[in-house]
Amino acid sequence: MSESKDPRKTFGEALVEVGEKYGTVIAISADSSGGSGMTPFKEKFPDRHLEFGIMEQGVIGFASGLATTGKIPFVVAIAPFVTARPFEMFRNDLGYMRQNVKVVGRCAGISYSDLGPTHQSLDDVALIRTIPGVTVLNPADPVEIKKVVHAAADITGPCYIKIGKEKMPVLFEENYPFELGKGYLVRDGKDVTLIGTGTVFANAHAAAEALKKEGVDVRLIDIHTLKPFDSGIVLKAAKETGTIVTVEEHYLAGGLGSIVCETLAREGVCTKVKMIGIDDQFASNGPYDDLLGLYGLLPDQIKETVKGFL
């Protein structure tokens, strides 16, 4: 097993790096700084760390106003509280106003497994990707967390970055080919394509390894940028492998699986697609791995689903 890292700690390191790179980067906390890995940033740049208390609607507006003066605010808190809660502020103050604000939803998906649906975020991608001009990022490992934080800081415009809570295994090399807006072909294959995103990409990765041992030639794609979406890599996979399985810690409605199906339908491509994720229900509560198991998101389950689908 490779080394694993705490995504929030990794995010916090990345924030310090972009803070060093750009003197205009501001960290915004809604009583959420420590839990978001922002303590090192706060210690290093105390004047650029702004505390607002528990006002997730307010902070989005303040971030928008700060951005109009040339700042690059990073607003970081528990995922549902910076997406579903202030959705209209996100849409109008950041999207419609086209402000250079980076919203980071942490402990996303069902990673607050024990805390239940109020704290889980299975709709954030579905919601935020409807907002024109917002870049939606969902990194798959600690190396990629750093890549997306840097990429978000480098571009001008609103971004949503989704990160989990559980430690993530390091899957990628420091210098792997990361390109914003492009899917990453992790391994080629011709029997079936497995497309994963974010926290559970590692499980798709493990499933792909196991399938390969069993003689199934799996193509594996990591989608770190859900919007703008790399339709080319999906259309190519549909053409070359025929069958697609998507894996995400999100509702089936509106997430990666939906995006893949929309892409195929728009292009008139008829391909078998299986979507693995959480269907139309509020998720349960309990240990994280047990919950993932409930929704078929563990490596063995993904492997079996793929085999059963071939």
Binding site: L50, G58, I60, G61, F62, G65, L66, T68, G70, D93
Partner: protein
């Protein structure tokens, strides 16, 4: 302080802004007239006496900012921006047409001088707070001016922003509450009471003042004297009359949004002409 001549000039400008509002209504045949006319004297004072702005350089870094939190009052904003020279008056005639630079709620990417995209009530104060904060961080002396509706104050998000603005000591921010005492469904205190209004703001850590929102001299004085208390954001509760200047529409709830008949527009034009004559005397 204003000289009598300056006051007269500002009053004439305010009338011209009212005429511009009517011109927009004439073009679009309808619009949010009531809340626009209640803020005309305030925006005129701000744009013609108070704010550090340059219509030739609408994005000048150290400019003062104006956020119209109650975005539906935008006919007044467009009217004053045109009068101040941000764009040609002829643009006012496009109100209501497809793709006009003057949407029913303002869009900063369409029109120079517009600083934020408001319209959904309860957003502007946070955005303005962020601007005030950013300007302070940059060591600029710029000020941020905001206009809110009195009905708008029912939105909880405003009170998040009110708390944060005092917590962060944003004494470079001046808010006008346009207390025209009406909103869509009736008298504001009956729909959802904001009383005790001044105490609410005070208890949130703001310096307060109550004025007549049509008395340009008093508006200018308040804007020149803020912050009312050191280290605190300031709020002016401006008592106004909805649809101010058009007698048959004044203080009437059904003129929140006006589907204007031709004869009504004609009468309004005549009333403005009469005010014009009075000011010339």
């Amino acid at each position: 302080m204003l000289t009598p001549q300056e006051l007269k000039t500002l009053q004439k400008t305010a009338l011209q802004v009212r005429k511009n509002v009517l011109r927009e209504i004439k073009a679009g045949k309808m619009g949010h007239i009531g809340g626009a006319l209640s803020i005309v004297d305030i925006v005129t004072a701000l744009y013609f006496k108070i704010m550090n702005i340059d219509p030739k350089k609408p994005l000048m870094r150290d400019r003062d900012r104006f956020v119209l939190s109650a975005g539906h009052k935008c006919l007044a904003l467009y009217a004053v921006l045109a009068e101040r020279g941000f764009f040609d008056h002829s643009v006012l005639d496009t109100y209501g047409s497809l793709g006009s630079k003057l949407p029913g709620h303002p869009d900063m990417h369409k029109l120079p001088g517009v600083e934020s995209n408001t319209g959904a009530l309860g957003h502007g104060l946070s955005i303005a707070g962020g601007m005030a904060m950013g300007l302070k961080m940059d060591g600029l002396g710029s000020k941020v001016y905001v206009i809110m509706g009195d009905g708008e104050l029912a939105e909880g998000s405003n009170w998040e922003a009110a708390a944060a603005s005092s917590h962060h000591k944003l004494d470079n921010m001046l808010v006008f509450v346009d207390r025209n005492s009406l909103q869509i469904s009736g008298r504001t205190v009956e729909v959802m009471s904001y009383e005790p209004l001044e105490e609410r703001w005070r208890s949130f850590g703001w310096g307060t003042r109550i004025i007549n929102g049509h008395d340009i001299e008093t508006i200018v004085k308040a804007a020149e004297e803020f912050p009312f208390e050191k280290g605190k954001p300031s709020v002016v509760i401006a008592d106004t009359v909805k649809s101010k200047g058009i007698s048959f529409a004044e203080d009437r709830v059904d003129f929140h949004y006006w589907k204007a008949k031709e004869e009504e527009i004609l009468q309004a034009e005549q009333e403005f002409a009469a005010i014009d004559r009075r000011l010339e005397e």
